[in-house]
Amino acid sequence: MTTAPQPQNPAVQLLTPEGELVTHESYSLDLTHAQYKSLYREMVFVRRLDQEATALQRQGELGLWASSLGQEAAQVGSAFALEKNDFAFPTYREHGVAWMRGVDPMKIMEVYRGISNGGWDPLEHRCNSYTIVIGNQVLNGVGYAMGCTLDQSEDAVITYFGDGATAQGDVNEGFVFASTFDAPVVFFCQNNQWAISQPSEKFVKTPIYKRADGFGFPGVLVDGNDILAVIAVTKAALDRARSGAGPTLIEAFTYRMGAHTTSDDPTRYRHENDLQNWKLRDPIERLKVMLARNGIADRNFFDAIDIDADAWAHTLRAAVRSMGEPAPESIFDNVYADSHEALDAQRAAFLDYHEGFADSGVQS
């Protein structure tokens, strides 16, 4: 058993909001220039995806959208740290994670357009379906991790949740189970300061990462808007998990720059000032400054990415607008894995009923 690294306070940081590279006594990260540049590109695309989806919701093309704006570093960075065979368990907001796991953004759109409840195949991407019931996925992730141990594999799990979710029984039970079985799981909490209208400081009387102590595993606080620190901290936690030493809780300190979802009106409960302050801590901007300052990328590079992202967003928009709809009778599909006579009969009656309307020319 390795001993828990002492929780760092303030947050682990390798890249300051001003775009300056700094060193940390416990964490470092060595990336190639190509990797730095690709991280920048991923974050720009994830933000573009978010903007596009928000606009599509406004235009009535999506039923709802939960914005990831401002959380790109936490999401892209933590998912970048995963190995191909690791498994991610996201909430409903982790578009950056789904993106990094190779999920087709159109599949995310399907969920928010109301065409599918799952979209992609979790097993194919090793990225679970979005989980909406707060906290449920944490226990599922822990169980998956327990299976990784039983299989004597090197696979690890990352499970995401928000600051609000830390109140749920499922999340705390997840901590206990993971600790009991030394499950190879990383608990990745994005503390974006808000749970709908509730500021996290109201319910979080001790920093979230410190709670890990009470459950018997290490907790780390990381600047969630610093993609380099997020990667370093997540990689270390995954390594620890793989080595059999058990779980780690990472609290990525970030900010929900947008509304909770497109249904929410944050002017009812929060001040504009906070938002302005957090804009100065923008995760993409600071990486951009670092790349430019260190001569890793120049204006042409940034401009080209913007042009690519624009073109890509344009295609996405068109594709969402022309998305087809599943057949009505597909509502009976996949309720059970094995054949089910009673439900088959119901589907047949459903089809008969609708054919009846078609014959009579009545719109059903």
């Binding site: 409903y92 109301g114 599943p326 597909s330």
Partner: protein
């Protein structure tokens, strides 16, 4: 005092009335303070009654119900909000194991006058877990009362009665009807929530519905060539089968409508009771128009799941043709 209110506003007024008449009434739930709840049913109440009467809870439903039980034991009368139907399940254990059983367990000493408000049902184009109709899970549990209003007047009267009740009440709010407007009489209670009410008289077929489906049943009644009597149950537990039977004695035919899946739904219970009590007057098999036995579908397909007035008319026709 009378005026036209939406269901959401009528519920808000009922909460206000209850809080004014009893200082032990307090509201507890997620985002119900400054935000006024995601449907604004608690709008302005935090501002007017303060932190000690309107409590924003941590994000944990088992916590909300579990602590409310303690609060009630201490003499409070908590009115809880569960944000959406699909999020009541973390609280299921507390509801089934404690809330429903404490009065009986303590030989009547401990009363738990707790109301759990739950917006329920589909038709609003929402993502998963936001459109479910879980009422049957609760009607099945002895010790719980279950109410659901269908219009602003019944919303006002039912919620006040739920809060005044000394038993735990699971209170289902038809969320897709929140913005429907109607006349509300607040001077007295013209509606008895524990009784089914005839919302349209008719002579050919009795159509029993509740919550969001009452409006759909009324639409069917308007469109039907037959004379339909529409009954709004209001109370799902206890069931007022006497009122249903009275109507069926006159019409001889019964159609039951609900959004929840048909399998072992309320329709099954009503059919069993009326099948017995009205055995000699029934002129046709009892029909049910319900959700299918599937998980609630993604929103683009929900119209195919939800009972609509066409499906009710088809059921009415087969009752008439039997």
């Amino acid at each position: 005092m009378t005026n036209d209110l939406t269901i959401a506003k009528a519920l808000n007024q009922a909460l206000r009335t209850a809080m004014e008449e009893d200082s032990k009434v307090l509201l507890f739930g997620e985002d119900i303070g400054k935000l006024g709840g995601v449907f604004r049913v608690t709008d302005e109440l935090h501002k007017d009654f303060g932190d000690h009467r309107v409590l924003d809870s941590p994000l944990a439903e088992s916590g909300i119900v579990g602590t409310a039980i303690g609060l009630a034991m201490r003499g409070y009368r908590p009115v809880l909000e569960i944000q959406f139907d699909g999020f009541v399940f973390p609280a299921f254990d507390q509801i089934i194991s404690q809330l429903a059983k404490v009065h009986r367990r303590t030989n009547g000493s401990v009363k738990l006058p707790i109301t759990i408000r739950i917006p329920y049902g589909g038709g609003i184009g929402a993502v998963e877990h936001h459109s479910e109709s879980p009422e049957t899970f609760f009607t099945h549990i002895p010790g719980l009362r279950v109410l659901t209003p269908s219009d602003p007047q019944s919303a006002y009267s039912c919620l006040l009665s739920a809060i005044r009740s000394n038993d735990p009440v699971i209170f289902f709010e038809p969320k897709r009807r929140y913005w429907d407007k109607g006349f509300v009489d607040r001077t007295e209670s013209p509606v008895d929530p524990w009784r089914a009410r005839i919302v349209r008289t008719g002579s050919d077929v009795t159509v029993v519905a509740y919550g969001p489906m009452v409006k759909t049943a009324l639409q069917a009644a308007n469109a039907s060539e037959y004379s339909l009597e529409v009954i709004d149950l209001q109370s799902l537990s206890p069931l007022d089968d006497r009122s249903i039977a009275d109507s069926v004695e006159r019409t001889g035919r019964l159609v039951i409508v609900h959004e929840a899946p048909g399998n072992l739904g309320l329709g099954a219970e009503i059919a069993a009771r009326i099948g017995k009590s009205c055995f000699y007057t029934l002129e046709a098999p009892i029909e049910r128009v319900t959700g299918y036995d599937i998980p609630y579908p993604p929103s683009k397909l929900e119209e195919h799941y939800l009972p609509d007035h066409d499906r009710i008319l088809v059921a009415v026709d087969s009752a008439m043709e039997a």
